[in-house]
Amino acid sequence: MSSMPEMRSDTGQVEETTPGGELDSAALEAALPTLTDKLAALASELSDSEREVLSSIVTSSALHLEKLQDINAEAEYIYAKPISAAATPEVRNHLLALPEVLGFSESR
């Protein structure tokens, strides 16, 4: 099996990535308020039926994250790395609170 010379992915997001090309945790956390603002703007443009779907998505996301946290607690090990994206505790906590922040708490 032949090997390629070392190459680095240029994501065009250099300021947000580690030398290995991963998104930096601090950048992900810093992006939460602005993403929330954009989701709130999106929600304000939706019809009632579309808003209901978005509410279901945001709420289900929080419920699933919450469930995974419960599994982790029961497993008695440190939640060392996330299964998807670079979800630090701050990111997860933000997503857990997102239904209420966006006014979707009525559906939980």
Binding site: V58, S60, H64, L68, K81, P82
Partner: protein, 237 residues
């Protein structure tokens, strides 16, 4: 509800994605993937079936929209399944040996164990043969320098529905061992609009799929079951 054009939020998420920074987009991806996982496993029981289905399809269909057109159109997200021509028997035997030798330093990663960056696996992941194989099927890709050995070798290990992080956007997943022959744990992909795809990889068989776009899970192992895999990450460019 089975047509993308009847899911208006999908297009809205696509347009929103174009306005997001990479970090915002990654957070949105996490939110959508967790939503798909929650809707699949029934954490949102208070929803009507129709609303749950529409929310699930919206989340599933929106995930590929977050990648700025860098994902070719796909139905299941599977690029290839079979005995990959870029691995020789000797390659597989060497990775099998390295996987076993590195088990002791594997770290728990959610509900399974992972060894990252083992030298041979890392070198294999940089193979020009793999790069050429992928390039012919999905266009240019770059290796992400991510090469993991995965271990599901105790009862109850598995991983709930999720999508992979960016480093495994295109995942080359190869089975090194699954014993005993009477298997319980399986890989399941949940492409939108279709029945789940149940996959049992044979020894030495590879699955190449867009792991950052298709929700997938590995169901739990039972007593006596042991699975070892090797996973390489690539990124379409």
């Amino acid at each position: 509800m089975t047509q993308a054009d009847s899911l208006p939020l999908v297009e809205r998420f696509g347009r929103l994605s174009a306005e997001l920074t990479a970090a915002e987009r990654e957070n949105l991806k996490l939110m959508l993937s967790m939503a798909a996982g929650g809707l699949l496993v029934g954490h949102a029981r208070q929803l009507s079936d129709a609303l749950r289905q529409e929310a699930l399809e919206t989340a599933q269909r929106s995930l590929p929209k977050l990648h700025d057109g860098k994902r070719p159109a796909f139905t299941t997200g599977i690029v290839f399944r079979g005995r990959a021509p870029f691995f020789t028997d000797a390659d597989l035997a060497a990775m099998d040996e390295e996987s076993l030798a590195n088990r002791h330093r594997a770290e728990r990663f959610h509900d399974h164990y992972v060894t990252s960056g083992a030298p041979l696996a890392r070198e294999m992941a940089l193979s020009s043969d793999i790069n050429a194989f992928l390039g012919e099927r999905v266009g240019p890709v770059l290796p992400t320098y991510k090469a993991n050995y995965l271990y599901y070798d105790a009862p109850g290990l598995g991983i709930d529905p999720h999508v992979d992080k960016n480093e495994f956007a295109l995942n080359v997943l190869t089975m090194l061992e699954h014993r005993p022959d009477d298997r319980h744990s399986e890989l399941i992909l949940y492409p939108p609009d279709q029945d789940p795809v149940h996959i049992q990889l044979a020894h030495g068989e590879s699955l190449i799929f867009f792991a950052d776009s298709v929700t997938h899970q590995r169901t739990r192992t039972v007593a006596g079951e042991s699975i070892r895999l090797v996973s390489f990450g690539y990124h379409p460019i």
